[in-house]
Amino acid sequence: VRLVLLLFLVGCASRHVVVAPDEATRRNTGWRVLREPAPPRSASLDAAAARVVAGERLRVLVSAPTLAEATERAGRVRAYLVKRGAPVERLVVQATTGPGVAMELGFSAP
């Protein structure tokens, strides 16, 4: 009986399995964006870019409900116009208008 009890206790002691606590966290990753999507085509922005390239000074007003969204949208608009040859002159954050935020982008030909 003592022998069986001893074997049982030894068995219990040797049967603990240690799982690294951070294993799941380490292997559960966030998104890896390997390629950003191209901005959607916009006829009005294409026309705006053409006007800047033709020498016209242009201001684009971007509005969004929050500053974060306005910044993100302005970034997309700027990337779109720059890609089509309209260099950014300046980026101005305007005063908050109503519940939203307006952001002004200035463009002019080089």
């Binding site: 068995g11 219990c12 049967r15 603990h16 399995v17 799982v19 294993e23 799941a24 292997r27 559960n28 990753t29 966030g30 998104w31 890896r32 964006v33 390997l34 390629r35 950003e36 999507p37 191209a38 901005p39 959607p40």
Partner: protein, 191 residues
């Protein structure tokens, strides 16, 4: 009494020598999140990249691998359906591959349920799903979803514990996958 106890002691561990089956549940969408910019999504069949065909194993009291647990349905197909259900539950419209704004593909790297033997028995379930999201406008994003679930099975392990573990793992996986996909797709409202 002594004979009965001896017989019981011999018979109970014998349960661990017979294979069992695991039912992968067709869970309802978790409903954790709704898409702000619902788009059409195609879900390609998830590819099975698991290194072993079984879905889990049984162990005896000395932590030896003594029997296997086999899924009653193909795990990769099951994950494909789970992802599709979660997407529709979040407001996306499923479309055929090639006609959707976004395509979700993936590889099932691991799906395994096993008991962890100690003073009591815990049952642990792991799933490792590699997701790939592409869009017509060129988005290409990848993510490794790795989830580990552990539950207390009490003093002894029953075959039904494998089903319970699969159910909990399915709930975890569904919620994690849809929160993750909505977070990514809402970042790019026009894909």
């Amino acid at each position: 009494v002594v004979r009965f106890v001896l017989a019981l002691a011999l018979l109970l561990p014998a349960c661990a020598f017979s294979n069992t089956s695991v039912t992968l549940p067709e869970t309802a969408p978790s409903g954790r999140v709704k898409a702000r910019s619902p788009q059409t999504v195609a879900v390609r069949p998830i590819v099975d990249r698991r290194t072993q065909a079984r879905c889990g194993m049984k162990k005896n009291g000395y932590d030896w691998d003594t029997a296997s647990a086999f899924c009653t349905t193909d795990p990769a197909t099951w994950v494909t359906h789970l992802v599709s259900r979660e997407l529709t539950g979040a407001g996306y419209t499923l479309a055929a591959d090639g006609k959707a704004d976004v395509t979700v593909a993936g590889e099932l790297v691991q799906l395994f349920i096993e008991p962890m033997i100690g003073m009591t028995v815990d049952i642990e379930a792991d799933v490792h799903l590699r997701l790939t999201v592409t869009s017509r406008r060129g988005l290409h994003a990848e993510r490794d979803v790795y989830l580990k679930m552990s539950m207390d099975a009490g003093m002894a392990l029953f075959d039904s514990d494998f089903d319970d573990a699969a159910k909990r793992l399915a709930d975890l996986l569904g919620a994690d996958v849809i929160v993750s996909l909505v977070t990514l797709l809402d970042r790019y409202p026009s894909l």
